[in-house]
Point group: D2
């Protein structure tokens, strides 16, 4: 109800504020007898952590994961896994100046309107720090999906108006923005560094490809595969849109162009993005999300304070000028959570 | 689990195939003591029904709603409402030729892959006919939202590449495509009639504006208002993408442009689309969806049959060359369901 | 939330008032490709219907089931089944005298307190008529359990202080009270007929045995097999208690007596009732429920009316002097729903 | 699905094994702006902890609670509370001898059958240690219920065949078995000490009274107040039965005896136990549970090992000879969880 649980069978419940003691996740519905260790999860955490490069925040969150239940002698037992990351390097006093003002683009105003109280320190629960728990839970889903032969791969497709022209899987983890085109990636980095130098930020587009999914995944009529992925992605703070396959292009196509014809080897095109009628076709699943520019900028902006008075604000601090490279592992994590859950839901109906 | 229920507090569960006896909906969690009658629901059904104009399917579904429980002396009792529409004008034999072939763009292939069996008659449960139950349930949500002063308005923004240039609320229900620009609407109708004459179809963009929502709606971190709306919209068969506020444009904006500044009268812009941090700001909520071209076309297409043999197919029958005008009331219905549910979820937490 | 849905994977949602147009059920999560027909469901409905014998209400509800979706050519398709029973033989005017008074033992007072409105005709949604939809849904679960080799058998164990002394499975459906001891059953019938003649009623105990369940069913820590069965049984209107295995006797046993020892052939006793730690052991599952005397009696009783004034009331009408024989199929239906759901939940976790 | 979450709006999700690093709970759906501190929770933990008296296990679990999220400046923020208890005084090697044998009455056998793997150390997740997380979550519900004027009071009513003859609220927390009759309590203690001396154990009956609940709580038809309480209580490991009001006595009463008549001051009796039609009447809610004798005894018992060979077993270690006094706070915690959740569900429907 309160929305801190995601999934139906393979289910995560998260907690934790940016400057609280810890962020963590209980993962329920985990297949028993599967080998999982902290190092496997840590690898995904390291892809999300700040301070990785010149284009990410210099904060050090020391995202060291600990598994505190659900594992016995290196294997899952079928009982809930608890994975926790204790917070360190917290500087709550750095946020004193924003305690009584609403930063534009931030959830300061809406959280206060909703709950009548807010933990302003580092945005509290509205902080991107919250996604660390998603990545931890998603790593466990990823482990289970590996056994099914499913691969989930996200990458930056566009930043600040600069688009990738090629798709080269091998370069993604080799450049600081996680672009799929090394040349475009280099330009993106320059652009981000420039924006950082003037205290501004920019958005971008992240694309995700999923391979190896059986045909048949997704639960019509409401819990379609694309519907579940859309919810998962829009639940990430900075995401403002999603499209599957031909996406918004489909709006100006003819039926005779858009329909994916088949021959005995399979589909002849993939305008559907691997999903028809809310069910996977067996083709590559492909979607793109729009990522808004980071709200925290040190440019002076106009806003109001909690007394309703007009004030100016300038968010100092250690922020990412472009969130795309760090959102990539979060997108993958959320996609893994959706897929593993739907595999188990499919098993339930036939079980 | 199987995905035929939508919502958590205000909750609908639907059933029904295109050529079965009926489609219907159980609506649970309805506020007691509210006046609701069949005429109110019927009005929404009539906006969705086929045969309204030259640009919709000539089928006659006789969508006459009946409320069979949950009402006593004209008022809701707090027990579940059951609303049913008996099917008529069914011609299942019209589908005999597609019984053993997979129509491109249709869910024929994926349903068979998923369930190992499929009701091919008029696409069975994958038919757009299923959305009639959503509109019936959504009408009840709309009634409850009226009492809150919330208005939900969807309309066609683009069809076959023709875009609306103005926004005139009054013309929407006056033109057959439900465009918000009468002149563009007239061009769209011509384009659709032409495509119909050559057996092809086209897609479009539907926009939705929601007014009167309190600030504070939406349940972070996973059940954000935009996440729930995205799921709702992508659960509609033909929808391939959604964007909120600046949407995909946000990807190429700077933070200093995108952030919505505030003064004492409120927000100075609405790039966020009325939602920040997954919670309503109190501004107009605005989103757009991409609608794919109707899959059913009478152009000859290449496909395979259930034996895996290559065949050609040409879908005859009574189909909509562009689904936008009839998807408009479905979009509104789904938005109403999301909003009424989130209002009740908000009440639960404080209750 | 509003409580008209039962189950997580195999899930029923019901609607309908005693004197409304119909009662019905949507069954979601049904295994595809299973043969089910109306006759199979009807057989269970006939065991629940009134007018079966001298000890049940003479009302005729004409419980004729119709399946209106989810079946294609005699087999389930994986889409929701809708099963409906249209109401007939309604005499709402028979309830005019109780419109403004609260019948002792009935939910008249509590429904009005809860919802602020009530459909008084035949108790509306609080009527035992509501259980018809459960029996319809339970019949579908029973069909699926047959394929697993699971049998669910309930019967009357005690009525009005008269206890069964033997357990003879073959006589259960041969006597009007569904007692497991023909001799005790004959005495029970006499007692019930006498109470009916003086306008009073009595309670009893119904026992249920479940055979053929695999070891391993049940979801600790909260959704234990006994916890789910307890909820299911207490959700039936007249039930006031439940006990498993040794039950309330366990309270006065020693650990050395109660613990079920094992040898290589299995358990040496079954004080646990086939459930340990909330998980099935593979032994027979056995529980008993306490059924209160029917509230509707024609003895004069003291009560108040909706104005808070003291009045006398005497409930005329067509009521069961003892509900045990008709509650037996409802107990079986609810047990089937719990079991099929837990089988599918077990499959989900490993799936 | 996997059953580690309880509640719908006010919802707890727990994790933790007896000899793992910690047990803990995420509490979601907490009313914002309520003062809660660790001391309030600790008080309930101390009532549950072992080592309180001569009749409880001498283990020291050091149940020191820490709240690690969801609180800001002493008040709830509406975001999830995380409450954790780190385990100490663990002696996993004490369980080496039972690693390969199934202790009679324990969940050793069923857990292995279900999951194919088990953490045998101190029963792993099947340990009573798991209920510490319930008491922590229940304390938060209790805090919210205090604001509503609701009181939940459980106590031992019977132990080893010795029954309380009086009900004296003031003595409950003054005697080591938490009996409501000081004299009976003293006899119970003697009996338990004797059984402990010979390595055996006994069961008992715990009763619970709930006062101050508004009329109208409970969600028919499936989520009735008594159905939800029954599930909650049967989800506690040692509980084998529950009865409300007249309970199993109702089975031998006449309708004219059992029906609770009313006059203008309210109900004239309370055979219903404060619940009619699954909804609270406003009277005291009263139920009793049957608690089985502790399974862990040092009497020699017959069992099998994981190879299916017959062996003898004798459970040494630090166990409670009667679990009643320590189950009392768990019963209260579960009742609080059910009530707070149903209050919020009621608010949702009208909200």
């Amino acid at each position: 109800m309160a929305g801190n649980t995601f999934g139906e069978v393979f289910k995560i419940t998260t907690f934790g504020e940016s400057h609280g003691a810890a962020v963590g996740v209980i993962v329920d519905g985990v297949t028993p007898n599967v080998e999982i260790d902290e190092a496997y999860i840590q690898k995904q955490m390291d892809r999300r952590k700040p301070g990785q490069s010149s284009v990410t925040s210099p904060r050090k969150e020391y995202d060291v994961v600990q598994i505190q239940s659900g594992i016995f002698e290196g294997k899952t037992t079928g009982t809930p896994l608890f994975v926790v990351l204790y917070n360190k390097d917290m500087k709550p006093e750095a946020y004193n100046d924003i305690q009584h003002s609403f930063r534009p683009g931030h959830a300061d105003y809406t959280f206060l309107q909703k709950y009548g109280i807010r933990d302003h320190r580092g945005s509290g629960r509205a902080s991107g720090r919250e996604t660390a728990a998603r990545v931890a839970g998603g790593a466990i889903a990823r482990k289970l999906l590996e056994r099914r032969g499913v691969e989930v791969l996200a990458y930056t497709q566009e930043v600040g108006g600069i688009k990738c022209q090629t798709f080269d899987e091998d370069v993604i983890e080799q450049n600081a923005v996680r672009a799929c085109d090394a040349k475009a990636g280099a330009e993106m980095i320059k652009k981000i560094e420039h924006l950082a130098s003037i205290g501004d930020s920019c958005g971008g587009i992240v694309e995700c490809r999923i391979r190896g999914v059986i045909p048949g995944l997704g639960e019509p009529v409401f819990d379609k595969l694309d519907a579940e992925l859309a919810k998962a992605m829009l639940s990430i703070g900075a995401v403002k849109g999603i499209e599957f396959g031909a996406g918004f292009e489909a709006a100006s196509m003819l039926g005779s162009e858009h329909n994916d014809a088949m021959n005995k080897d399979g589909f002849l095109s993939n305008h559907s993005g691997g999903i028809i009628g809310g069910i996977s076709t067996g083709e590559e699943i492909i979607f793109r999300i729009s990522v808004k520019p980071t709200s925290s900028i040190s440019v002076t902006q106009q806003t109001i304070n909690t007394n309703g008075e007009e004030v100016e604000i300038k968010t100092e601090g250690r922020h990412d000028p472009c969130i795309c490279p760090r959102i990539v592992p979060v997108v993958e994590a959320m996609a893994c959570l959706v897929l593993e859950d739907l595999y188990k839901r499919q098993a339930a109906i036939f079980g």
